[in-house]
């Protein structure tokens, strides 16, 4: 699904190198967790996968289903099935959540040469997915993310993910700002989307989320490189012992 090869990337504006030779492979159907201390490049990695222009890839490649995506702009990547759940979802005043969903779904369909959804079909899909995530119709009428609570914002991200049916989901610190009940709802939403042809990259600072979204692999990101990979037990080690030992061993 995803193959990142010797990736180097920097902030376009000031040239600061953030990703320094990163290698990572995520297979079809795999849930990969990326953990690491603050400032290790976790969020940057998610932005680079999504194609944000603020970052420049200087070396290496990102292959998605065997094809390099470096030349694709963000909306093209999205239409090919790459989805990023934002750590801080953005407010769009005056645009009802429902309206945003419809535009996004239809734009992606258009980009793939598919017909637009009929209104009843669209309504049915939204209703079903929203119910799963305990999202009320009232919330869908509100402007996207405007005045949403932390939990509402994250549920709205997962709702979009469910409706857009991506192949590669990148969750950036989806657990931040969530209480335990909200975390469970969000994790259930993600787990419901796990399938053999859909991969998930879970970026998180804490092990807590991984109790609910159990990963197949865990990778430690430090100073722009993966310094250790393992299975889910690696996350528990990190929780118990912190990053220091691993960082030291890698140095």
């Amino acid at each position: 699904m995803l193959e990142i090869k010797n990736l180097h990337a920097r902030i376009a504006e000031d040239g600061t190198e953030i990703i320094r030779g990163l290698n990572l492979t995520v297979r079809d159907g795999e849930v990969a967790a990326i953990m690491g201390p603050n400032g290790s490049g976790k969020s940057t990695l998610s932005y680079i996968l999504a194609g944000r222009e603020d970052y420049e890839v200087t070396e290496g490649d990102i292959l998605y289903n065997g094809e390099s995506i470096l030349e694709l702009d963000p909306s093209e990547r999205a239409a090919k099935g790459i989805f990023l759940a934002f750590q801080y979802p953005i407010e769009i005043p005056g645009v009802a959540t429902m309206q945003f969903l419809k535009v996004a779904m239809n734009e992606q369909r258009k980009a793939r040469g598919e017909d637009e959804l009929t209104t009843p079909d669209f309504m049915r899909r939204v209703k079903e997915a929203a119910a799963e995530l305990q999202i009320s119709p009232e919330m869908l009428r509100r402007p996207l993310n405007v005045g949403f609570s932390g939990g509402e914002k994250k549920r709205s991200e997962i709702l979009q993910m469910a409706l857009l049916e991506p192949r590669l989901c990148v969750l950036d610190e989806t657990d931040s700002g969530l209480d335990i009940d909200a975390l469970k709802i969000v994790a259930d939403g993600v787990n419901a989307l796990r399938s053999p042809d859909r991969s998930v990259v879970v970026i998180t600072h804490y092990q807590r989320l991984l109790d609910y979204i159990v990963p197949d692999t865990v990778h430690v990101l430090y100073k722009g490189q993966i310094i250790k990979s393992g299975d889910k037990t690696l996350a528990h080690d990190l929780e118990a012992n912190g990053y220091a030992d691993i960082i030291e061993a890698a140095a």
Binding site: S75, I90, P93, G94, V103
Partner: protein, 489 residues
């Protein structure tokens, strides 16, 4: 939702820098000689078969105008206008006033068809519900057709061109004309009083709710011609009327002048809702050509509990100088101003409102949304004042500006005056850019850049769009997106 989708489709279909209404109609025209003088004013007045008092009124205004200076306080720049290098009267030959549709030059009918304006009395489709809209069509200096006149007459509503009204209802015109915008008001209004050629007249008698939307469609066609429209709307006690004006002009290299005056009078318990979708030719991408729009619009809430509401969507004109205002004279009267002003390319907009609180317990509400793109300058200029006797006057003002790109400017210039201690004013102003974050978020969801901007802008203006009559809200949304097209990159 469908409106947004249509917006996007429309934006895609049209090439950058293409003004959709820029075509020219070839009809034989009759013009007054170029320039401005008492003789020209006599010529116009004679063309319109006006009574003597009207001619005197015009001449009085002209003499006054000769003593006035062009105002220079607005944040707009343009070369000095030579007022003697314009035609002040241009009408299709054989048409000195409205006539039966069958007699109108087919070229003119075709023009309005192209513009999507029905001159035949048909029911226009608006969503599910069929609704009627009466139209007064003004072509350069003359009203060519007014529809649904008979049907409106049955309800007691008078809807006709102002030229006809001067002849047919002189007492009403005399009683109200110039009582809201006096001939001495300002440079452009005074000029208009001297040379106005046509416009609409609406009279809704006591207790009548006007049974349909009224609208006037202004078209400038002839080269080097100024359009000086004059509109007068009167709602008697307890009456209600909703009125919409639309404007377009051909695409030309030289600038053309449009200096209109609109007066509204609302007596006790009356309500007037006045909406404008202004789409004059804005000039090309290098700032060449376009209409100079210098307009004085004012409503007088003369009676108690009266209400006047202005809603405007301004997307055209090279220069806009326009401040639709309300004089809140009657106790408990209410004024509203909802505005969307879009500027792109080299457009300059200086627009806003005045809310003058004179009566007790008067209230006003101002919602202004300015969107600037390209190298345009977009200024909100608004005045709220309360008179000594205007106890418990209240105003709420919200001015939001949205910048697209980094070469345009948005400016907010509020003037607030309270002459008593019981006034209550609230003023909120924001300026924002379509943020990189918002764009990236939309892109990441698979929404391409142009569609993303259309979506964000439509969200930004939603509060105002929903004030427009249903039939026109969709049009207005489309128009805004088209105006902003090519603003990214």
């Amino acid at each position: 939702m469908p409106a947004v989708q249509e917006t996007i489709d429309q934006v895609r279909q049209i090439d950058v820098d293409q003004y959709k209404y820029g075509f020219e109609t070839t009809v034989e025209m009759e013009k007054a000689p170029k320039g401005l003088s008492e003789d020209i004013i006599r010529f116009i007045s004679a063309k319109k078969n006006e009574p003597d008092w009207m001619l005197e009124w015009r001449l009085g205004a002209y003499r006054r105008w000769l003593t006035l200076e062009e105002p220079a306080w607005a944040r707009v720049n343009y070369p000095k206008i030579d007022f003697n290098d314009l035609y002040y009267y241009a009408a299709p030959k054989n048409q000195s006033g409205p006539m039966s549709i069958d007699d109108v030059d087919p070229e003119i009918i075709k023009t309005y068809e192209k513009l999507g304006i029905p001159l035949r009395e048909q029911e226009i489709l608006a969503g599910v519900q069929k609704s009627k809209v009466a139209v007064d069509a003004v072509f350069d200096s003359v009203s060519v057709v007014t529809t649904f006149k008979e049907e409106l007459k049955k309800a007691g509503v008078i809807f006709m061109s102002i030229s006809e009204a001067i002849r047919e209802h002189p007492d009403l015109v005399k009683k109200y004309l110039g009582t809201v915008v006096p001939t001495t008001d300002n440079f452009y209004a005074t000029l208009n009083s001297a040379v106005f050629t046509d416009g609409s007249f609406v009279f809704v008698p006591k207790g009548v709710r006007c049974p349909m939307e009224l609208s006037t469609y202004f078209r400038i066609n002839e080269r080097d011609t100024g359009q000086f429209e004059r509109t007068l709307i009167i709602a008697e006690e307890g009456a209600y009327v909703s009125y919409l004006e639309g404007c377009t002009a051909p695409q030309r290299d030289e600038n053309q002048l449009h200096a209109a005056v609109v007066e509204l009078v609302a007596l006790d318990d009356a309500e007037i809702k006045y909406s404008t979708v202004q789409n004059w030719y804005p000039g090309d991408k290098d700032g060449k050509g376009g209409i100079y729009n210098f307009v004085t619009k004012r409503g007088d809430c003369r009676g108690k509990n009266s209400k006047i509401s202005w809603t405007q969507v301004e997307t055209g004109s090279a220069i806009t100088w326009k401040y639709p205002s309300c004089i809140l004279r009657g106790d408990n009267s209410r004024g509203e101003f909802y505005s969307i002003a879009v500027s792109n390319g080299h457009q300059q907009v200086d627009s806003g409102t005045k809310m003058i609180h004179l009566g007790k317990n008067t209230s006003s509400r101002i919602i202004s949304k300015g969107i600037a793109a390209g190298v345009s300058q977009n200024t909100y200029r608004g005045q709220v004042s309360t008179h000594r006797k205007a106890e418990n006057a209240r105003n709420f003002t919200q001015c939001d500006s949205l910048l697209i790109g980094d070469r345009c400017g948005a400016h907010t210039v509020p003037y607030i005056e309270a002459k008593n201690s019981t006034s209550h004013f609230e003023h909120e102003a924001t300026t924002s850019k379509i943020s990189e974050d918002q764009l990236f978020y939309c892109l990441q969801r698979g929404i391409p850049e142009e569609a993303a901007i259309a979506l964000i802008v439509n969200g930004f203006v939603k509060e105002v769009i929903q004030e427009l009559p249903m039939e026109f809200a969709v049009e207005a949304q489309k128009l805004i997106s088209i105006s902003l097209e090519g603003s990214v990159g």
